[in-house]
Structure formats: structure tokens, C-alpha cells
Amino acid sequence: MQTKPNAGLFKRNPPIAGEAEAIERAKNGDPDAFSKLYALHKRRVYTLCLRMLGNVSEAEDMTQEAFLHLFRKLGSFRGESAFSTWLHRLTVNLVLMHLRKKGLQLVSLEETINPSEEDAPKRDFGSRDTQLAGSVDRVTLERAVASLPPGYRMVFVLHDVEGFEHNEIATMLECSTGNSKSQLHKARLKLRELLRQPEQLPELESTREVMQ
């Protein structure tokens, strides 16, 4: 079946040249086509896993899981959303399931993603000494995001980086929409604090930077 893209859903995920053909061929069991899908999307899936997990080894394991799951479920992709969006949602859900298996399965994320007092943003948010000096470069922001408490990082990556809506995040994290908004706000406040002293941010664990 030929996929029928919905143009309104492709704002941040425009179709990639050759992708639609590779999807159809992969659906019919063509291993080279699946290899092409991996080549097209491996960086984006891995980067998402790395940002959500903050750990290279786990991110590689989840990337592997995501593509194996893709292989099994590709036949159900109808093309009603961008393939990238569909694959991202699949990846996010797998990572969340992984995290729950690691210890979050007995209580809701709404309770457990809240960080400790010392990790929470300070409340003197309006004072001048917490203000940023100017623009923020993306490498520094990447390091600051990696330093966020896991719950803050999760919501920030899903909303501000991946572009999910609060109602979608609430469904994925099994929390309220209000909680998603609140966590995002706290994440941004915490980032503001961290970005005030970029020299104190740790280096990223991942060292396989792609040559730009």
C-alpha cells in the first residue's frame, strides 16, 4: 500500500528523499531497504535515546531495540504522520518502558520524576544575578540539558527539543498536563541557573560527535 502523507503533520519532519520508497520496500521484506531506513534515521533515534537516558551504552541498546521494534511493526505504518514522528514516538515509548522496568514501574512518573530539593531551581528567579548574559550556544545548552535531573530532562527534551505537545507528554509520562507544564517550566528555570556558569558544566559523555 502506498503511503499518503498528510502535509500538515510534517512541519518539523519533512519527507526525506528516497524514504517513502525504502519504507514500501522494507515492508515487503527487502533487507537493503531496511538498512537504508537505519542509515537515514540512526542518528536521530540515537540522539533522542542519548538525551533521554544520558548514557551511551544504554542509548545504543535502546537504539537497537527501537530498530528491531520498527522491523516488527513497520507493516502497520500507514503514512498518516511523518515516518520520523512515528519512529520518534515508538522510540520514546520504548525508552519510557525501559526506565519503568529499571525502577519506576511501581509508582507513577508524576511522583518519581520530581527532583530533590537541591536539584530544584532556586526561587530567586527574578534577581539579576541569575540572568543570562546573552545568547546561548547549542553545545553549551546540550551540556546543561545533560546536567538536568532526569525528570526535568525528560520533559524538556520531549517538549522543547522533540516538539511534543503537553497533552502528548502527559499521556506518555502518565502524568497530568498541568504537571508536564510545571516540570517544563522548572526545567527551563534550572537550565537558566546552569547556563549562568557554563564553565562548571561537565563535558558530555558521548564523544562520537558527528563532523559538521
Partner: protein
């Protein structure tokens, strides 16, 4: 979440501003609280709050640039996937009831 439809922003305190800011960001057009005309007077009178809004907008705007991937998995990841696929029968039937708008992990 707070209903801001009938809220008096001109007489808002900084504490109320702090309380309502998550919702203001969530409901603003494109996350641009600084362009919300209801807040123009308040932000003009409270430069620290205006600076906060500006900083948070900068962070959110810069974050969009992180969408483009920076990292690459090792070659071992594809090797493991390829090995696994050799031992796994294809289940690529299109008869599932999951479409692109639903949870693809089910």
C-alpha cells in the same frame, strides 16, 4: 491549571507572575510570552521579570536547534541489529490496527 481568561494582569504581583508563568508559556503563541500584549504593562514595570521571560524564551528557542541530531551510534549497533534480524522471521504484515497516529509500540 489556572484560568487566565479574566485575570487582571496589570495589578499582578511578582508572586502571581511566577505562579502563572508555566501556563502563560504553554498558552502563548509560539511560546512568546514577551509578545503577549496582556503582559506588556507588567513586564515594563518589572525588568527582572522581563529578563526572566527573555531568558526562558532564549532557552526554548535554542533548544529547537538541538532537534537536528549531533550523535552517531557505533557500528556495533547495526551489526547487532543485522544479526538479530537474520534469526527473526519477518512479521511485516500490514493487517495491524495501528496507524501512524496511534502508539506504535503496541
Amino acid at each position: 491549571m489556572t484560568d487566565l481568561a479574566n485575570f487582571d494582569f496589570d495589578s499582578m504581583t511578582t508572586a502571581e507572575f511566577e505562579q502563572h508563568l508555566p501556563e502563560l508559556f504553554a498558552s502563548s503563541d509560539g511560546g512568546k510570552v514577551s509578545e503577549d500584549q496582556r503582559l506588556a504593562g507588567f513586564l515594563a514595570k518589572n525588568p527582572d521579570c522581563a529578563a526572566l521571560v527573555r531568558d526562558l524564551e532564549t532557552i526554548a528557542e535554542t533548544a529547537k536547534g538541538l532537534f537536528e541530531p549531533d550523535h552517531e551510534p557505533s557500528d556495533a549497533v547495526w551489526s547487532k541489529i543485522a544479526t538479530q534480524l537474520q534469526h527473526e522471521p519477518a512479521e511485516l504484515s500490514a493487517d495491524g490496527d495501528v496507524d501512524g497516529s496511534e502508539d506504535p509500540t503496541k
